[in-house]
């Protein structure tokens, strides 16, 4: 009997530390936030019940609309691209060659550094006179060199492939080993041509001086609803860069879990690499993709650090997200806190996250049908 009681309470005993956290630092906090959202509260005087006033104010607030738009754009685009990139990186890294562990560590680097450090470096890269514009200028002024390089590449590849065909050997136009040879050869020839001054950079073109951060310009132009502001786009790139490696590890683990036999079977059936990936690998990764997309959506909807750190380097309207909107209402510059407004926006953000994740789940479930 004693043993039975001990056994019966065991789950709760084991769970108790987590339940404490869940109830105190989540449940209680969540309910209080919900309550605050119906009040006016400046942290000094006790909260005053005001009904739905905060929510009505929210709907009418121009900035809230911008925050909502930016957050949605950010979540959808970043989640999509970072998932694709993570998978790509994982495929690249899924090799059994010397030094691959070194490369894995290297690729993961963007994910381990803190967002503050990374954002500072990115701010510097995206200055009007920063490295990004510097590289773009070099590309623009060096278009002749680039053209020569690709021309040579094409020539070498054609030469090698035709030579092989003449010998009646089976070879595809994109034979990778020749491609590699062609890349190396044309790089060497181009390098030689540039060094000897036969091919030169174009002089006199105006340098690229795109303002990336301190602007409200949008792309594509004139699409007020769907256009992405330049600074937000820059933050998107930054975010994709920092989070893709994390998800890459998940995919990598997934890829390594796929039994060898599957690949071998596909090879025996004569499937190409791309077909193998699509019909063999992709279905095996479905669970991971679901996880990656869900985690991606949740974290992108909460995006905060980068906006906070970029600060006055970009117009607030162009980068404000819902999470940041909550923050600047809770701690507005130079006036008393508006905990009510902040809480209402926070509740909205929470609901939005739930809805989007649910939609994604439904879409995935529907996709599993076939």
């Amino acid at each position: 009997m004693r043993r039975s009681i001990k056994e019966k309470t065991a789950p709760y005993v084991l769970l108790s530390p987590y339940l404490f956290m869940l109830f105190v630092f989540f449940g209680y906090a969540f309910l209080r936030c919900f309550y605050f959202s119906f009040t006016e509260y400046d942290l000094f005087a006790p909260p005053q019940w005001v009904g739905f006033k905060n929510y009505l104010n929210l709907i009418q607030d121009f900035q809230f609309g911008l925050a909502l738009k930016n957050s949605l754009q950010f979540a959808v685009i970043v989640t999509t691209l970072q998932t694709v990139l993570a998978l790509l990186l994982a495929v690249i890294l899924n090799q059994k060659i010397k030094g691959i562990r070194f490369f894995r560590a290297l690729y993961y680097m963007p994910s381990i550094t803190s967002s503050a450090v990374v954002t500072l470096i990115f701010m510097w890269l995206f200055q009007k006179k920063g490295l990004v514009n510097y590289l773009l200028t070099s590309l623009k002024n060096g278009y002749r060199i680039i053209a020569v390089f690709f021309g040579l590449l094409l020539m070498f590849q054609a030469f090698l492939v035709i030579g092989e065909k003449l010998k009646k050997r089976p070879v595809s136009c994109f034979e990778p080993s020749y491609l590699f040879l062609a890349v190396v050869l044309s790089f060497m020839v181009t390098f030689f041509l540039v060094k000897t001054g036969i091919v030169t950079m174009v002089e006199g073109l105006p340098p690229v001086e795109t303002v990336w951060l301190n602007t409200k310009k949008i792309w594509p132009r004139n699409h007020r609803l769907f256009g992405i502001s330049y600074p937000l786009g820059s933050i998107m790139l930054l975010n994709i860069w920092t989070t893709a490696p994390t998800f890459m590890l998940l995919y990598l683990a997934g890829l390594q879990d796929i039994p060898k036999e599957l690949y071998e079977a596909a090879a025996v059936d004569g499937a190409t690499k791309i077909k193998t990936f699509w019909y063999v690998v992709r279905p095996q990764l479905r669970n991971i993709t679901f996880l990656v997309v869900t985690m991606g959506l949740i974290s992108t909807l909460q995006m905060f650090d980068q906006v906070a750190i970029i600060g006055d380097q970009a117009p607030l309207d162009a980068v404000i997200t819902l999470a940041y909107y909550v923050y600047i209402n809770a701690f507005p510059s130079s006036v008393s806190p508006k905990i009510g407004m902040a809480s209402a926006a926070a509740v909205f953000l929470g609901l939005l996250t739930l809805i989007i994740v649910l939609i994604q789940r439904i879409v995935v479930n529907a996709g599993e049908g076939d």
Partner: protein, 418 residues
């Protein structure tokens, strides 16, 4: 209710006062301000002046520096009842705390004080920390805007230095002329009301009109906006961001601009980043329409926690922190500009030293022409956002002046309805 509350407060106060005098127990007064460079300054000040002066009264002082967002810290700490007895109040947000009833009015203390008198302090500073006729903060130091210019560049271009007789027009011509130099722009134009506002005030603009609204179509504001953004059309002016700098002082230090509008904070920056820069400082140019100059006052004061348990002791510390000796020391070390009127004729300012002379210009800026505090009523910093945004958009060619004004007024009206 309020009266009885005040009564209770007074009673407690008396009890505390009696208690502290009778028992003469050691009282620790906690004071709090910024971290960073303020920390060594305040700690040194405590060590040299405050602690020795209060030792026999049994008062010790502990400085608690706050590294980040001080306003947020103090709001949280006040609400949590963990706030220090004395704390920094920036002119920018002081009113929000005062109006929330979190700051102790100081009039009754000042009335009894032998060391601290209202008339000793620069009136415009004291006003900024007053509410409904009561004083809530004693200014510890302040800053205004001055025009800093690079003497070498003007010499090289053969252009006369900007001086106190300049109006916007003559000044713009000088900027135009000096920007003929290779790789040099005229004035650094930060797209911020915190710079351009001084010009708008010069031309007669008022932050709030009689009806409590802000009118950006005021001719003074419009003229200032047109002049300021107009400089950016040629090389006579440029946004620091376009030079890869985040503020005017940065571009000034690298000698990419010939002049910038900044406060005394730029001096510290130049000491580190361009210690040999041959610069001068003068007043901002006058508005041609009014013949006056304008300026903004940036100021930090000491405020007292309303819930403090050692109010009398805290006030004694406050007296020491703003005493003439301490202010003299601050000035002579070139750390900040003190807030006492009597220091106007201080020999420090008369030195033949560019830093001292620049400090003097900034010091005098507080009483030259239309001077307004850097604070914006109930709207706080958000009041400036639409204007800053318009400045940026106009100067980068995204909007015309007219469009920018309309957009800013629309957003401002919306903001003020919140």
């Amino acid at each position: 209710m309020k009266k009885s509350f005040a009564g209770v407060c007074l009673f407690l106060l008396l009890v505390v006062a009696l208690f502290s005098t009778v028992s003469a127990a050691r009282v620790q007064v906690r004071i709090s301000g910024w971290g960073g460079s303020d920390q060594p300054i305040i700690e040194e000040m405590l060590r040299l002046y405050v602690t020795p002066a209060l030792e026999k009264e049994g008062i010790t002082v502990l400085y608690e520096p706050i590294a980040d967002d001080f306003q947020r810290y103090i709001v949280n700490a006040l609400s949590a009842n963990t706030a220090p007895d004395l704390f920094y109040m920036d002119i920018f947000w002081a009113q929000s705390l005062i109006q929330a009833g979190q700051v102790e009015p100081l009039d009754s203390y000042i009335a009894k004080s032998k060391l601290l008198k209202k008339e000793d302090f620069i009136p415009s500073l004291l006003d900024a920390f007053s509410h409904q006729g009561k004083v809530y903060g004693i200014p510890k130091d302040f800053n205004t805007l001055a025009l800093f210019y690079n003497k070498d560049l003007f010499d090289l271009a053969g252009v006369a230095y900007p001086d106190e007789h300049d109006t916007w027009d003559t000044f713009a011509r000088k900027m135009e002329a000096v920007s003929k130099l290779d790789g040099v722009y005229g004035l650094a134009l930060q797209p911020e009301f915190a710079r351009m506002g001084a010009l708008a005030y010069a031309a007669g603009f008022k932050t709030f009109e009689q009806n409590g609204k802000s009118n950006l179509f005021h001719p003074g504001f419009k003229a200032a906006l047109e002049w300021y953004t107009g400089l950016a059309k040629s090389r006579a002016g440029i946004m620091p961001a376009d030079l890869g700098q985040s503020w005017g002082g940065g571009a000034f230090g690298t000698e990419e601009v010939a002049a910038c509008i900044e406060g005394a904070w730029v001096i510290g920056h130049l000491k580190d980043q361009a210690p040999n820069l041959n610069y001068g400082a003068t007043f901002l140019p006058k508005a041609p329409s009014t013949g006056k100059r304008g300026n903004l006052i940036f100021c930090v004061a000491w405020g007292m926690n309303k819930e403090s348990k050692h109010k009398q002791a805290a006030f004694k510390v406050l007296e020491q922190l703003t005493s003439p000796e301490v202010q003299q020391w601050i000035l002579e070390r070139g750390l900040a500009l003190p807030s006492r009127v009597a220091l106007t004729d201080n020999p420090y300012f008369k030195q033949n030293d560019r830093e001292a002379q620049a400090n003097y210009i900034v010091f005098r800026g507080a009483s030259e022409g239309n001077v307004e505090p850097f604070s914006f009523g109930e709207n706080g910093g958000r009041w400036m956002d639409p204007i800053n945004e318009a400045l940026r958009a106009i100067m980068s060619g995204e909007l015309s002046v007219e469009e920018g004004l309309r957009e800013a007024q629309f957003r401002l009206d919306q903001e003020m309805q919140r």
